[in-house]
Protein backbone atom coordinates (compact mmCIF):
# COMPACT_ATOMS: atom_id res chain seq x y z
CA UNK A 1 0.00 0.00 0.00
CA UNK A 2 1.28 3.46 -0.80
CA UNK A 3 4.40 2.52 -2.67
CA UNK A 4 2.78 1.76 -6.03
CA UNK A 5 3.57 4.17 -8.84
CA UNK A 6 0.90 6.77 -9.38
CA UNK A 7 -0.44 7.07 -12.93
CA UNK A 8 2.19 8.74 -15.06
CA UNK A 9 4.57 9.47 -12.21
CA UNK A 10 7.58 11.60 -13.20
CA UNK A 11 10.48 9.57 -14.54
CA UNK A 12 13.75 11.49 -14.24
CA UNK A 13 16.03 11.28 -17.26
CA UNK A 14 17.97 13.58 -19.53
CA UNK A 15 16.33 13.86 -22.90
CA UNK A 16 15.07 16.23 -25.53
CA UNK A 17 11.52 15.90 -24.23
CA UNK A 18 12.48 16.40 -20.59
CA UNK A 19 14.34 19.59 -21.43
CA UNK A 20 11.42 21.18 -23.28
CA UNK A 21 9.54 24.11 -21.82
CA UNK A 22 6.63 22.77 -19.73
CA UNK A 23 4.23 25.33 -21.23
CA UNK A 24 5.02 24.11 -24.73
CA UNK A 25 4.78 20.48 -23.62
CA UNK A 26 1.42 21.18 -22.01
CA UNK A 27 0.02 22.68 -25.24
CA UNK A 28 1.70 20.08 -27.45
CA UNK A 29 0.21 17.21 -25.47
CA UNK A 30 -3.21 18.75 -26.11
CA UNK A 31 -2.26 19.07 -29.78
CA UNK A 32 -1.08 15.47 -29.84
CA UNK A 33 -4.40 14.29 -28.47
CA UNK A 34 -6.29 16.33 -31.04
CA UNK A 35 -4.13 14.83 -33.76
CA UNK A 36 -4.88 11.30 -32.55
CA UNK A 37 -8.58 12.16 -32.64
CA UNK A 38 -8.19 13.24 -36.27
CA UNK A 39 -7.02 9.76 -37.28
CA UNK A 40 -10.06 8.21 -38.95
CA UNK A 41 -8.60 5.19 -40.74
CA UNK A 42 -6.43 2.30 -39.47
CA UNK A 43 -3.59 3.53 -41.67
CA UNK A 44 -3.58 7.02 -40.18
CA UNK A 45 -3.85 5.56 -36.69
CA UNK A 46 -0.73 3.52 -37.48
CA UNK A 47 1.01 6.75 -38.49
CA UNK A 48 -0.06 8.29 -35.17
CA UNK A 49 1.28 5.25 -33.32
CA UNK A 50 4.62 5.61 -35.12
CA UNK A 51 4.89 9.22 -34.06
CA UNK A 52 3.95 8.47 -30.42
CA UNK A 53 6.52 5.66 -30.37
CA UNK A 54 9.13 8.09 -31.72
CA UNK A 55 8.26 10.63 -29.02
CA UNK A 56 8.68 7.97 -26.35
CA UNK A 57 12.02 6.97 -27.85
CA UNK A 58 13.12 10.62 -27.79
CA UNK A 59 12.11 10.90 -24.14
CA UNK A 60 14.31 7.90 -23.19
CA UNK A 61 11.65 6.42 -20.97
CA UNK A 62 12.11 2.66 -20.56
CA UNK A 63 9.29 0.73 -22.20
CA UNK A 64 8.58 -1.08 -18.94
CA UNK A 65 8.11 2.21 -17.09
CA UNK A 66 5.77 3.53 -19.76
CA UNK A 67 3.63 0.39 -19.47
CA UNK A 68 3.63 0.49 -15.67
CA UNK A 69 2.51 4.10 -15.69
CA UNK A 70 -0.41 3.14 -17.90
CA UNK A 71 -1.34 -0.16 -16.28
CA UNK A 72 -4.11 1.22 -14.01
CA UNK A 73 -5.79 2.81 -17.04
CA UNK A 74 -5.64 -0.26 -19.26
CA UNK A 75 -8.87 -1.47 -17.65
CA UNK A 76 -10.55 1.51 -19.28
CA UNK A 77 -9.13 0.54 -22.69
CA UNK A 78 -10.20 -3.09 -22.36
CA UNK A 79 -13.67 -2.14 -21.17
CA UNK A 80 -14.21 0.28 -24.04
CA UNK A 81 -13.03 -2.33 -26.52
CA UNK A 82 -15.37 -4.95 -25.02
CA UNK A 83 -18.36 -2.61 -25.22
CA UNK A 84 -17.56 -2.01 -28.88
CA UNK A 85 -17.36 -5.71 -29.62
CA UNK A 86 -20.80 -6.21 -28.09
CA UNK A 87 -22.67 -3.18 -29.39
CA UNK A 88 -21.30 -2.49 -32.87
CA UNK A 89 -22.91 -4.87 -35.35
CA UNK A 90 -22.45 -5.56 -39.03
CA UNK A 91 -20.49 -7.68 -41.50
CA UNK A 92 -19.78 -11.36 -40.96
CA UNK A 93 -21.11 -12.77 -37.71
CA UNK A 94 -18.49 -14.87 -35.92
CA UNK A 95 -20.36 -15.85 -32.81
CA UNK A 96 -23.90 -15.62 -31.62
CA UNK A 97 -25.43 -16.65 -28.32
CA UNK A 98 -28.65 -15.09 -27.04
CA UNK A 99 -28.22 -11.34 -27.12
CA UNK A 100 -24.45 -11.63 -27.48
CA UNK A 101 -23.40 -11.24 -31.08
CA UNK A 102 -19.82 -10.78 -32.17
CA UNK A 103 -19.42 -9.54 -35.71
CA UNK A 104 -16.70 -8.37 -38.04
CA UNK A 105 -17.49 -4.68 -37.65
CA UNK A 106 -17.64 -4.99 -33.89
CA UNK A 107 -14.15 -6.42 -33.73
CA UNK A 108 -12.80 -3.85 -36.15
CA UNK A 109 -14.27 -0.97 -34.20
CA UNK A 110 -13.09 -2.43 -30.88
CA UNK A 111 -9.52 -2.67 -32.15
CA UNK A 112 -9.64 0.81 -33.64
CA UNK A 113 -11.19 2.58 -30.62
CA UNK A 114 -8.98 0.60 -28.22
CA UNK A 115 -5.81 1.65 -30.05
CA UNK A 116 -6.97 5.23 -30.27
CA UNK A 117 -7.70 5.38 -26.54
CA UNK A 118 -4.35 3.79 -25.78
CA UNK A 119 -2.54 6.40 -27.90
CA UNK A 120 -4.46 9.20 -26.18
CA UNK A 121 -3.49 7.89 -22.76
CA UNK A 122 0.11 7.46 -23.86
CA UNK A 123 0.20 11.04 -25.12
CA UNK A 124 -1.17 12.28 -21.81
CA UNK A 125 1.20 10.25 -19.66
CA UNK A 126 4.18 11.37 -21.76
CA UNK A 127 3.62 14.85 -20.31
CA UNK A 128 3.52 13.69 -16.69
CA UNK A 129 6.34 11.19 -17.19
CA UNK A 130 8.72 13.86 -18.46
CA UNK A 131 7.62 16.90 -16.43
CA UNK A 132 7.85 17.40 -12.68
CA UNK A 133 4.62 18.40 -10.95
CA UNK A 134 6.29 21.68 -10.05
CA UNK A 135 6.85 22.44 -13.73
CA UNK A 136 3.34 21.35 -14.69
CA UNK A 137 1.78 23.72 -12.17
CA UNK A 138 4.09 26.52 -13.30
CA UNK A 139 3.03 25.93 -16.90
CA UNK A 140 -0.61 25.75 -15.87
CA UNK A 141 -0.26 29.05 -14.03
CA UNK A 142 1.50 30.79 -16.93
CA UNK A 143 -1.01 29.56 -19.47
CA UNK A 144 -3.82 30.84 -17.26
CA UNK A 145 -2.12 34.22 -16.85
CA UNK A 146 -4.15 35.94 -19.62
CA UNK A 147 -7.31 34.87 -17.77
CA UNK A 148 -6.00 36.62 -14.64
CA UNK A 149 -6.87 39.94 -16.32
CA UNK A 150 -10.54 39.07 -16.12
CA UNK A 151 -10.27 38.07 -12.47
CA UNK A 152 -9.36 34.37 -12.62
CA UNK A 153 -6.99 33.71 -9.69
CA UNK A 154 -4.42 31.99 -11.92
CA UNK A 155 -1.57 31.96 -9.44
CA UNK A 156 -3.73 30.65 -6.60
CA UNK A 157 -5.19 27.90 -8.78
CA UNK A 158 -1.69 26.82 -9.78
CA UNK A 159 -0.57 26.85 -6.16
CA UNK A 160 -3.58 24.80 -5.06
CA UNK A 161 -2.94 22.27 -7.82
CA UNK A 162 0.73 22.04 -6.87
CA UNK A 163 0.05 21.56 -3.16
CA UNK A 164 -2.66 18.97 -3.83
CA UNK A 165 -0.31 16.96 -6.05
CA UNK A 166 2.51 17.27 -3.54
CA UNK A 167 0.44 15.91 -0.66
CA UNK A 168 -1.16 12.96 -2.46
CA UNK A 169 1.71 10.53 -1.81
CA UNK A 170 2.11 11.94 1.71
CA UNK A 171 -1.50 11.13 2.57
CA UNK A 172 -1.23 7.70 0.97
CA UNK A 173 1.67 6.93 3.31
CA UNK A 174 -0.12 8.31 6.35
CA UNK A 175 -3.28 6.40 5.55
CA UNK A 176 -1.17 3.24 5.44
CA UNK A 177 0.26 3.91 8.90
CA UNK A 178 -3.15 4.75 10.39
CA UNK A 179 -4.63 1.63 8.81
CA UNK A 180 -1.96 -0.60 10.33
CA UNK A 181 -2.28 1.10 13.71
CA UNK A 182 -6.04 0.49 13.84
CA UNK A 183 -5.66 -3.09 12.60
CA UNK A 184 -3.20 -3.55 15.48
CA UNK A 185 -6.06 -2.57 17.77
CA UNK A 186 -8.22 -5.31 16.31
CA UNK A 187 -10.13 -3.28 13.70
CA UNK A 188 -11.55 -5.20 10.73
CA UNK A 189 -11.86 -3.11 7.60
CA UNK A 190 -12.64 -5.77 5.05
CA UNK A 191 -15.22 -7.96 6.75
CA UNK A 192 -18.53 -6.32 5.87
CA UNK A 193 -18.46 -2.79 4.53
CA UNK A 194 -22.25 -2.48 4.80
CA UNK A 195 -22.60 -3.55 8.41
CA UNK A 196 -20.87 -1.22 10.82
CA UNK A 197 -18.48 -0.26 8.04
CA UNK A 198 -19.00 3.47 8.51
CA UNK A 199 -18.03 3.42 12.17
CA UNK A 200 -14.74 1.64 11.48
CA UNK A 201 -14.07 3.95 8.54
CA UNK A 202 -14.13 6.93 10.92
CA UNK A 203 -11.15 5.32 12.63
CA UNK A 204 -9.28 5.88 9.35
CA UNK A 205 -10.78 9.11 8.08
CA UNK A 206 -10.77 11.21 11.26
CA UNK A 207 -7.02 10.84 11.90
CA UNK A 208 -6.34 11.45 8.20
CA UNK A 209 -8.37 14.67 8.15
CA UNK A 210 -6.83 15.77 11.45
CA UNK A 211 -3.42 15.27 9.88
CA UNK A 212 -4.47 17.16 6.72
CA UNK A 213 -5.49 20.17 8.81
CA UNK A 214 -2.27 19.94 10.78
CA UNK A 215 -0.24 19.89 7.55
CA UNK A 216 -2.24 22.84 6.18
CA UNK A 217 -1.52 24.91 9.29
CA UNK A 218 2.18 24.08 9.31
CA UNK A 219 2.51 24.72 5.60
CA UNK A 220 0.75 28.09 5.71
CA UNK A 221 2.91 29.16 8.65
CA UNK A 222 6.03 28.04 6.77
CA UNK A 223 4.95 29.91 3.63
CA UNK A 224 4.30 33.09 5.59
CA UNK A 225 7.64 32.74 7.35
CA UNK A 226 9.20 32.77 3.86
CA UNK A 227 7.33 35.98 3.01
CA UNK A 228 4.86 34.36 0.62
CA UNK A 229 2.34 36.99 -0.42
CA UNK A 230 0.72 35.59 -3.53
CA UNK A 231 1.87 35.68 -7.11
CA UNK A 232 2.45 39.41 -7.61
CA UNK A 233 6.13 40.18 -8.16
CA UNK A 234 7.20 36.59 -7.53
CA UNK A 235 10.27 35.49 -9.47
CA UNK A 236 11.42 32.02 -10.42
CA UNK A 237 14.79 30.45 -9.69
CA UNK A 238 14.76 28.85 -13.14
CA UNK A 239 12.71 31.10 -15.45
CA UNK A 240 10.79 29.29 -18.18
CA UNK A 241 12.52 29.97 -21.44
CA UNK A 242 11.83 28.76 -24.97
CA UNK A 243 14.71 26.94 -26.68
CA UNK A 244 15.35 25.27 -30.02
CA UNK A 245 14.01 22.03 -28.50
CA UNK A 246 10.58 23.58 -28.24
CA UNK A 247 10.71 24.44 -31.93
CA UNK A 248 11.68 20.86 -32.78
CA UNK A 249 8.88 19.49 -30.61
CA UNK A 250 6.28 21.79 -32.11
CA UNK A 251 7.44 20.91 -35.61
CA UNK A 252 7.22 17.20 -34.78
CA UNK A 253 3.66 17.42 -33.48
CA UNK A 254 2.61 19.58 -36.46
CA UNK A 255 4.22 17.05 -38.81
CA UNK A 256 2.30 14.32 -37.02
CA UNK A 257 -1.03 16.15 -37.43
CA UNK A 258 -0.28 16.82 -41.10
CA UNK A 259 0.74 13.21 -41.76
CA UNK A 260 -2.40 11.90 -40.11
CA UNK A 261 -4.68 14.18 -42.10
CA UNK A 262 -2.93 13.32 -45.39
CA UNK A 263 -3.09 9.57 -44.70
CA UNK A 264 -6.77 9.98 -43.86
CA UNK A 265 -7.45 10.98 -47.47
CA UNK A 266 -5.28 8.32 -49.10
Amino acid sequence: MGDRAIIGQYWPAESLVHAMDPRVKFLLSLGLMAAVFCAATPASLAVAALFVAAFYAASRIPLLQAVRALAPLLVLVVLTALLNVLFVQGGTVYFEFGIICISEKGIQSAAFIGCRLLLLLMGMSLLTLTTTTLDITAAFERLLAPAARIGVPAHELGMILGIALRFLPQFMTELGVIYRAQVSRGAHFNVNPFKGGVSTLTALMVPLFASAFRHAETLSAAMEARCYHGGAGRTRLVPLRLTWRDGVGTAAVLAMAAAIIIVNFL
Binding site: I178, Q182, A187, S211
Partner: protein, 312 residues
Protein backbone atom coordinates in the same frame (compact mmCIF):
# COMPACT_ATOMS: atom_id res chain seq x y z
CA UNK B 1 4.77 -15.54 24.96
CA UNK B 2 7.95 -16.34 23.11
CA UNK B 3 8.21 -14.53 19.80
CA UNK B 4 10.80 -16.03 17.50
CA UNK B 5 12.16 -14.72 14.20
CA UNK B 6 13.56 -17.53 12.12
CA UNK B 7 15.77 -16.41 9.22
CA UNK B 8 13.34 -13.63 8.30
CA UNK B 9 13.87 -11.56 5.16
CA UNK B 10 11.45 -8.95 3.90
CA UNK B 11 11.23 -7.08 0.66
CA UNK B 12 8.71 -4.43 -0.31
CA UNK B 13 8.67 -6.04 -3.73
CA UNK B 14 7.11 -9.04 -2.03
CA UNK B 15 6.58 -12.20 -4.01
CA UNK B 16 8.53 -11.03 -7.03
CA UNK B 17 11.67 -10.63 -4.96
CA UNK B 18 11.07 -13.97 -3.27
CA UNK B 19 10.97 -15.61 -6.68
CA UNK B 20 14.17 -13.89 -7.65
CA UNK B 21 15.78 -14.91 -4.43
CA UNK B 22 14.51 -18.46 -4.71
CA UNK B 23 15.96 -18.77 -8.19
CA UNK B 24 19.31 -17.28 -7.33
CA UNK B 25 19.39 -18.25 -3.72
CA UNK B 26 20.43 -21.85 -4.07
CA UNK B 27 23.50 -22.93 -2.13
CA UNK B 28 26.46 -20.62 -1.98
CA UNK B 29 24.82 -18.04 -4.24
CA UNK B 30 22.38 -17.14 -1.50
CA UNK B 31 24.39 -14.34 0.06
CA UNK B 32 25.33 -12.88 -3.31
CA UNK B 33 21.67 -12.61 -4.29
CA UNK B 34 21.34 -9.44 -2.25
CA UNK B 35 23.90 -7.62 -4.29
CA UNK B 36 22.58 -9.07 -7.53
CA UNK B 37 19.06 -7.72 -7.07
CA UNK B 38 19.62 -3.99 -6.64
CA UNK B 39 16.04 -3.09 -7.58
CA UNK B 40 14.58 -5.35 -4.90
CA UNK B 41 14.49 -3.28 -1.72
CA UNK B 42 15.34 -5.69 1.05
CA UNK B 43 14.28 -4.14 4.33
CA UNK B 44 15.28 -7.18 6.41
CA UNK B 45 17.92 -9.77 5.61
CA UNK B 46 18.18 -13.15 7.34
CA UNK B 47 17.12 -11.87 10.75
CA UNK B 48 17.07 -14.52 13.49
CA UNK B 49 16.37 -13.87 17.17
CA UNK B 50 13.73 -14.49 19.83
CA UNK B 51 12.07 -12.28 22.40
CA UNK B 52 11.81 -14.29 25.64
CA UNK B 53 8.78 -13.93 27.91
CA UNK B 54 9.12 -11.16 30.48
CA UNK B 55 12.23 -9.54 29.10
CA UNK B 56 12.85 -5.93 28.13
CA UNK B 57 14.12 -6.12 24.58
CA UNK B 58 15.69 -3.09 22.96
CA UNK B 59 15.98 -2.56 19.20
CA UNK B 60 18.47 0.01 17.92
CA UNK B 61 19.56 1.04 14.48
CA UNK B 62 20.24 3.96 12.22
CA UNK B 63 17.40 5.54 10.21
CA UNK B 64 16.39 3.12 7.46
CA UNK B 65 17.96 0.10 9.15
CA UNK B 66 14.66 -1.81 9.14
CA UNK B 67 13.51 -1.22 12.74
CA UNK B 68 9.94 -0.26 11.88
CA UNK B 69 9.59 -3.08 9.37
CA UNK B 70 10.89 -5.49 11.98
CA UNK B 71 8.32 -4.61 14.60
CA UNK B 72 5.45 -4.79 12.12
CA UNK B 73 6.34 -8.46 11.79
CA UNK B 74 5.77 -8.90 15.51
CA UNK B 75 1.97 -8.85 15.33
CA UNK B 76 1.53 -10.14 11.81
CA UNK B 77 0.83 -6.80 10.10
CA UNK B 78 3.37 -7.80 7.48
CA UNK B 79 4.57 -11.29 6.76
CA UNK B 80 8.14 -12.24 5.94
CA UNK B 81 9.03 -12.65 2.28
CA UNK B 82 11.31 -15.51 3.34
CA UNK B 83 11.59 -17.21 6.72
CA UNK B 84 8.97 -17.16 9.44
CA UNK B 85 7.88 -15.47 12.65
CA UNK B 86 6.37 -17.68 15.33
CA UNK B 87 4.52 -16.90 18.55
CA UNK B 88 4.82 -19.88 20.91
CA UNK B 89 5.48 -22.03 17.87
CA UNK B 90 2.52 -20.79 15.81
CA UNK B 91 3.41 -19.23 12.45
CA UNK B 92 1.99 -15.71 12.23
CA UNK B 93 1.55 -16.01 8.48
CA UNK B 94 -1.02 -18.79 8.91
CA UNK B 95 -4.65 -17.96 8.53
CA UNK B 96 -6.27 -16.58 11.70
CA UNK B 97 -3.08 -16.70 13.78
CA UNK B 98 -2.24 -13.06 13.06
CA UNK B 99 -5.60 -11.80 14.29
CA UNK B 100 -5.30 -13.82 17.51
CA UNK B 101 -1.72 -12.75 18.15
CA UNK B 102 -2.69 -9.10 17.67
CA UNK B 103 -4.71 -9.31 20.91
CA UNK B 104 -1.64 -10.57 22.77
CA UNK B 105 0.96 -8.27 21.20
CA UNK B 106 0.14 -4.58 21.58
CA UNK B 107 1.89 -2.45 18.97
CA UNK B 108 2.31 1.28 19.61
CA UNK B 109 3.43 3.12 16.48
CA UNK B 110 5.61 6.20 16.33
CA UNK B 111 3.65 9.35 17.22
CA UNK B 112 0.62 7.25 18.24
CA UNK B 113 -1.37 10.40 19.10
CA UNK B 114 -1.84 10.85 15.34
CA UNK B 115 -4.13 7.81 15.31
CA UNK B 116 -6.71 9.11 17.79
CA UNK B 117 -10.12 9.45 16.18
CA UNK B 118 -13.03 9.07 18.61
CA UNK B 119 -15.23 11.84 20.02
CA UNK B 120 -14.24 11.07 23.61
CA UNK B 121 -11.16 9.65 25.31
CA UNK B 122 -13.36 6.83 26.63
CA UNK B 123 -14.44 5.73 23.13
CA UNK B 124 -10.93 5.87 21.82
CA UNK B 125 -9.49 3.72 24.59
CA UNK B 126 -12.49 1.35 24.26
CA UNK B 127 -11.89 0.85 20.51
CA UNK B 128 -9.57 -2.15 20.97
CA UNK B 129 -11.65 -3.99 23.62
CA UNK B 130 -14.84 -3.41 21.60
CA UNK B 131 -13.16 -4.87 18.52
CA UNK B 132 -12.41 -7.91 20.70
CA UNK B 133 -16.20 -8.23 21.17
CA UNK B 134 -16.04 -7.97 24.96
CA UNK B 135 -19.11 -7.17 27.07
CA UNK B 136 -19.84 -3.56 28.10
CA UNK B 137 -18.84 -4.21 31.74
CA UNK B 138 -15.54 -5.74 30.75
CA UNK B 139 -14.84 -2.89 28.31
CA UNK B 140 -15.58 -0.38 31.07
CA UNK B 141 -13.27 -2.15 33.53
CA UNK B 142 -10.45 -2.26 30.98
CA UNK B 143 -10.80 1.40 30.02
CA UNK B 144 -10.64 2.47 33.68
CA UNK B 145 -7.67 0.22 34.32
CA UNK B 146 -5.76 1.29 31.21
CA UNK B 147 -6.29 4.98 31.95
CA UNK B 148 -5.09 4.46 35.52
CA UNK B 149 -2.02 2.61 34.20
CA UNK B 150 -0.92 5.55 32.06
CA UNK B 151 -1.70 8.07 34.80
CA UNK B 152 -4.80 9.72 33.33
CA UNK B 153 -7.67 10.65 35.62
CA UNK B 154 -10.78 8.79 34.47
CA UNK B 155 -13.21 11.25 36.07
CA UNK B 156 -11.60 14.35 34.56
CA UNK B 157 -10.74 13.10 31.10
CA UNK B 158 -12.94 10.18 30.01
CA UNK B 159 -15.63 12.37 28.47
CA UNK B 160 -13.27 14.98 26.97
CA UNK B 161 -12.36 15.03 23.29
CA UNK B 162 -8.86 13.61 22.78
CA UNK B 163 -8.14 16.46 20.36
CA UNK B 164 -8.42 19.03 23.19
CA UNK B 165 -5.65 17.42 25.24
CA UNK B 166 -1.97 18.34 25.28
CA UNK B 167 0.47 16.35 23.15
CA UNK B 168 1.78 14.36 26.11
CA UNK B 169 -1.72 13.51 27.32
CA UNK B 170 -2.75 12.48 23.79
CA UNK B 171 0.14 10.07 23.70
CA UNK B 172 -0.95 8.63 27.06
CA UNK B 173 -4.45 8.13 25.64
CA UNK B 174 -2.96 6.29 22.66
CA UNK B 175 -0.92 4.08 25.01
CA UNK B 176 -4.06 3.37 27.04
CA UNK B 177 -5.86 2.37 23.83
CA UNK B 178 -3.31 -0.40 23.30
CA UNK B 179 -3.02 -1.39 26.99
CA UNK B 180 -6.81 -1.79 27.20
CA UNK B 181 -6.43 -4.89 25.03
CA UNK B 182 -4.35 -6.30 27.93
CA UNK B 183 -1.48 -7.57 25.79
CA UNK B 184 1.21 -9.85 27.16
CA UNK B 185 3.78 -8.12 25.03
CA UNK B 186 4.06 -4.41 24.32
CA UNK B 187 5.96 -3.28 21.24
CA UNK B 188 6.87 0.42 21.19
CA UNK B 189 8.28 2.27 18.17
CA UNK B 190 10.26 5.30 19.37
CA UNK B 191 7.86 5.92 22.27
CA UNK B 192 9.55 9.12 23.44
CA UNK B 193 10.19 10.75 20.04
CA UNK B 194 9.30 14.43 19.97
CA UNK B 195 8.76 14.80 23.73
CA UNK B 196 10.34 17.42 25.97
CA UNK B 197 13.01 16.15 28.43
CA UNK B 198 10.63 16.10 31.40
CA UNK B 199 7.89 14.10 29.61
CA UNK B 200 10.61 11.82 28.25
CA UNK B 201 11.65 10.85 31.75
CA UNK B 202 7.99 10.37 32.74
CA UNK B 203 7.29 8.14 29.77
CA UNK B 204 10.41 6.04 30.26
CA UNK B 205 9.42 5.52 33.90
CA UNK B 206 5.93 4.57 32.71
CA UNK B 207 7.35 2.02 30.27
CA UNK B 208 9.64 0.61 32.97
CA UNK B 209 6.57 0.22 35.20
CA UNK B 210 4.79 -1.83 32.49
CA UNK B 211 7.79 -4.12 32.47
CA UNK B 212 7.87 -4.55 36.25
CA UNK B 213 4.19 -5.51 36.09
CA UNK B 214 5.28 -8.55 34.12
CA UNK B 215 4.72 -7.39 30.55
CA UNK B 216 7.26 -8.28 27.90
CA UNK B 217 8.42 -4.99 26.38
CA UNK B 218 10.08 -4.46 23.01
CA UNK B 219 11.29 -0.88 22.60
CA UNK B 220 12.71 0.66 19.44
CA UNK B 221 14.86 3.67 20.11
CA UNK B 222 17.89 5.43 18.78
CA UNK B 223 18.76 6.75 22.19
CA UNK B 224 21.48 4.45 23.43
CA UNK B 225 21.21 5.98 26.93
CA UNK B 226 17.56 4.90 27.23
CA UNK B 227 18.28 1.40 25.98
CA UNK B 228 21.31 1.01 28.25
CA UNK B 229 19.24 2.05 31.25
CA UNK B 230 16.19 -0.12 30.56
CA UNK B 231 16.87 -3.07 28.26
CA UNK B 232 17.88 -6.59 29.27
CA UNK B 233 19.06 -7.32 25.74
CA UNK B 234 19.63 -5.12 22.72
CA UNK B 235 19.38 -5.96 19.04
CA UNK B 236 21.29 -3.66 16.72
CA UNK B 237 20.16 -3.59 13.11
CA UNK B 238 22.20 -2.27 10.22
CA UNK B 239 20.89 -2.24 6.64
CA UNK B 240 18.34 -4.86 7.61
CA UNK B 241 20.89 -7.28 9.07
CA UNK B 242 21.47 -8.20 12.70
CA UNK B 243 24.63 -6.27 13.54
CA UNK B 244 24.78 -7.18 17.23
CA UNK B 245 22.59 -8.94 19.77
CA UNK B 246 23.30 -9.22 23.47
CA UNK B 247 23.23 -7.53 26.85
CA UNK B 248 23.96 -3.77 26.92
CA UNK B 249 27.42 -4.58 28.32
CA UNK B 250 28.22 -6.82 25.34
CA UNK B 251 26.74 -4.54 22.71
CA UNK B 252 28.31 -1.31 23.94
CA UNK B 253 31.74 -2.86 24.44
CA UNK B 254 32.29 -2.48 20.67
CA UNK B 255 32.19 1.32 20.43
CA UNK B 256 34.02 1.49 17.09
CA UNK B 257 31.67 -1.06 15.53
CA UNK B 258 28.62 0.90 16.68
CA UNK B 259 30.01 4.09 15.21
CA UNK B 260 30.56 2.33 11.89
CA UNK B 261 26.79 1.67 11.63
CA UNK B 262 25.89 5.23 12.58
CA UNK B 263 25.26 4.71 16.28
CA UNK B 264 27.26 5.68 19.33
CA UNK B 265 27.70 4.13 22.74
CA UNK B 266 25.79 5.93 25.53
CA UNK B 267 27.53 9.17 26.59
CA UNK B 268 28.97 7.87 29.93
CA UNK B 269 30.21 4.70 28.23
CA UNK B 270 31.84 6.69 25.40
CA UNK B 271 33.46 9.00 27.94
CA UNK B 272 34.73 6.02 29.93
CA UNK B 273 36.25 4.58 26.75
CA UNK B 274 38.22 7.75 26.01
CA UNK B 275 39.35 7.97 29.65
CA UNK B 276 40.59 4.39 29.42
CA UNK B 277 42.68 5.37 26.39
CA UNK B 278 44.12 8.26 28.44
CA UNK B 279 45.35 5.78 31.04
CA UNK B 280 42.51 5.60 33.54
CA UNK B 281 41.65 2.17 34.87
CA UNK B 282 37.88 1.83 34.72
CA UNK B 283 37.01 -1.81 35.25
CA UNK B 284 33.19 -1.93 35.05
CA UNK B 285 31.62 -3.31 31.85
CA UNK B 286 28.89 -0.66 31.56
CA UNK B 287 28.82 2.76 33.18
CA UNK B 288 26.04 5.21 33.83
CA UNK B 289 26.64 8.78 35.08
CA UNK B 290 26.68 7.89 38.80
CA UNK B 291 28.98 4.85 38.66
CA UNK B 292 31.36 6.57 36.24
CA UNK B 293 31.58 9.65 38.48
CA UNK B 294 32.28 7.48 41.50
CA UNK B 295 35.06 5.56 39.75
CA UNK B 296 36.69 8.72 38.33
CA UNK B 297 36.55 10.35 41.75
CA UNK B 298 38.20 7.30 43.31
CA UNK B 299 40.99 7.35 40.69
CA UNK B 300 41.58 11.09 41.01
CA UNK B 301 41.56 10.76 44.79
CA UNK B 302 44.20 8.04 44.62
CA UNK B 303 46.30 10.07 42.16
CA UNK B 304 46.02 13.14 44.40
CA UNK B 305 47.25 11.19 47.43
CA UNK B 306 50.21 9.83 45.45
CA UNK B 307 51.09 13.35 44.23
CA UNK B 308 50.87 14.63 47.81
CA UNK B 309 53.19 11.89 49.05
CA UNK B 310 55.70 12.69 46.25
CA UNK B 311 55.93 16.29 47.36
CA UNK B 312 56.09 15.44 51.03
Amino acid sequence: MRLAFDDVSYSYDGAKAAEKKGRRGKGAQREAAWGNAPDAAWALRNVTFAVEPGEFFGVAGHTGSGKSTLIQHMNGLVHPTCGRVTADGEDLAEKGVGARVRQRVGLVFQYPENQLFAATVYDDVAFGPRNMKLGADEVDRRVREAMALVGLSFDDLAERSPFDLSGGQQRRVAFAGVLAMEPEMLVLDEPVAGLDPLSRTDFLALIASFHTRGMTVVMVSHSMEDLAALADRILVLSEGRVFALGTPEEVFADGAGLRSVGLGAPAPEAFAASLREAGFSLPAALYDEATLAADIAAQLGAAGEQGGEGRG
